[in-house]
């Protein structure tokens, strides 16, 4: 049982609720085919960022249409990608001539719908680019990085793009930064259950890739860092940012214990950690455990790393 009238009406009612909680802050995109919100106070003459994905994932995506993040968000029904036409309608509504960047996690439905939206916009003469985030290091084992799915690292990419757009960069440049940040981003899901720790469990019930006996958070953080750093060795001299996402079954105290454990471990590995944050950005019903995300920034990316605050969370 859930606190809603029906699964069908839940998204509509939740967006109405969000708008009541922040009067004047959002505009609802009128559409029969999906759910979209955009900021009421859109900055003038800047590249627009539309973040989007399946519905029902907590602050992702509904809470991401805000200052320092995206200009708009679109989400689909529960566990379903948003419809290409709604993405297209949103882009047409908020574009101011500087073009639109779509950010989404790399899943088949999300990719197809975003790619189609880009083509529909091109037909209308509107510039649009797409960056699909593929930070989930343990998904699609043995395949190219581009084939991987996305976890919560997209939040870090989004804030970098927002800062770049704010500074007046062109669509091409903002898109390039998004791709660069994605290429230097690795995330991992961790969970504990019945005296065991699990790495790489998917949020749609995919089984863990690695399992071991649970011997405390420090051991779990050590293993997590080992997995993440295997692919980040080449950026060891760069600046790292850590983001911990906890599903709502994980408590506040536990979340920060986890953040601390990972930060300590990274330091031991000689990583220069410039910033860390924790929160429930991405949540699924019945979801448990955490996600750990690392971003390695070079000088260029660092220029656009600015804390995003005031949402009940910090990214």
């Amino acid at each position: 049982m859930r606190v809603w009238n029906s699964r069908k009406s839940a998204h509509e009612e939740a967006l109405q609720g969000m708008m009541l909680a922040s009067p004047g802050k959002f505009v609802r995109l009128p559409s029969d085919y999906g759910y979209g919100l955009y900021r009421a106070n859109l900055p003038e003459k800047k590249v627009r960022i539309i973040i989007n994905g399946g519905g029902g994932y907590g602050p992702m995506w509904a809470g991401f249409a805000d200052e320092g993040l995206a200009d708009a968000m679109v989400h689909g029904n529960f566990d379903s990608a948003p419809n290409a036409f709604v993405l297209y309608e949103m882009a047409k509504t908020i574009d101011c001539g500087c073009g639109v960047l779509f950010l989404t996690n790399h899943f088949m439905g999300d990719y197809l719908n975003n790619d189609m939206a880009v083509e529909l916009l091109a037909h209308d003469g509107i510039d649009a680019r797409l960056c699909c985030i593929s930070d989930d290091i343990l998904s699609c084992e043995g395949e190219a990085k581009e084939n991987r799915g996305g976890l919560h690292g997209i939040g870090q990419v989004c804030k970098i793009c927002a800062a770049a757009a704010h500074d007046g960069l062109s669509l091409e440049e903002v898109w390039r930064l998004a791709e660069k940040a994605n290429s230097r981003l690795r995330s991992l899901s961790v969970n504990i259950r019945e005296e065991k720790m699990f790495f790489g469990e998917g949020f749609s019930g995919e089984p863990a890739v690695k399992t071991a006996a649970y011997q405390g958070v420090d051991r779990m953080a050590e293993e997590a860092c080992k997995i993440l750093l295997t692919e980040m060795e080449q950026w060891k001299e760069d600046t790292f940012y850590l983001s911990v996402n906890s599903h709502c079954s994980v408590g506040y105290t536990e979340t920060f214990v986890m953040l601390n454990a990972v930060a300590v471990k990274l330091k031991e590995c000689g990583i220069r950690l410039e910033g860390c944050a924790a929160g429930t950005y991405f949540d699924v019903f019945e979801g448990s455990g955490c996600m750990i995300s690392l971003l390695a920034c070079d000088e260029e990316l660092r220029r656009y790393v600015r804390p995003v605050k005031g949402y009940g969370f910090v990214i």
Partner: protein, 213 residues
């Protein structure tokens, strides 16, 4: 028939939509065995929306007609098939002139370009048990038809026959794309539901133009 006028083109789409609605139980049946069972209902939803749209809208230009068909399918179908069948009719729009008729060569290029757009977007090729296994042979057949004749009826006859053969041949293939790839060997012996849908469009196109002659 050297020219296909927009009014007849629209009737072809109406007939295709009706045929797919009629065949929905069959599409659902095969997709339930080798996929997640939603292909038939998705196609039906899109085709019903198309029928409804065409009750009130008449198009003056072929490119506008094809644009309306694709966007309606994308809007209403959802999922991967909405994009794929939307792309089938959208990808080649730039090959159509902005006028009230289209000739056989343009039609052939239109469908081929749509097929290429699906390959690119879906990162797929013919031979993987997808709708491309009907669409691609249809495009090849139409391409070779326009080299010999400018007759639109013949164009759709060749396209239709090749599409049906292609859908039939997909029975011998193992799925390598989408959710049905998890069913592997189990997919042998069943045609790909998307390939069947693609062949149904061509069946309706051919039947509509052949009755005019």
């Amino acid at each position: 028939m050297d020219k296909l006028y927009v009014e007849l083109f629209q009737r072809m789409f109406i007939r295709g939509a009706r045929l797919i609605i009629e065949k929905e139980p069959y599409l659902t049946e095969i997709d339930s065995v080798i996929g997640d069972g939603d292909h038939g209902t998705g196609m039906k939803r899109g085709c019903e929306a198309l029928e409804k749209l065409f009750l009130k809208e008449k198009y003056a230009f072929v490119d506008e007609l094809c644009y309306a068909v694709s966007t309606e399918l994308i809007k209403t179908m959802g999922g991967a098939s909405g994009i794929i069948f939307g792309t089938m009719f959208f990808g080649g729009i730039s090959r159509l002139s902005h006028r009230d008729y289209v000739d056989a060569r343009e039609l052939s290029e239109y469908f081929l370009e749509g097929e290429r757009a699906i390959e690119r977007r879906g990162k797929a090729r013919p031979g993987q048990k997808t709708m491309l296994d009907a669409l691609y042979p249809a495009c090849v057949a139409m391409e070779s038809c326009v080299a010999r004749s400018s007759d639109v009826v013949l164009l759709f006859k060749d396209g239709y026959e090749a599409a049906v053969r292609g859908a039939e041949d997909s029975k011998l293939m193992k799925s390598q794309m989408g959710r049905s790839k998890n069913f592997k060997e189990k997919t042998l012996g069943f045609p790909d539901p998307g390939a069947v849908s693609a062949s149904l469009w061509f069946q309706a196109f051919y039947e509509t133009v052949s009755e005019v002659r």
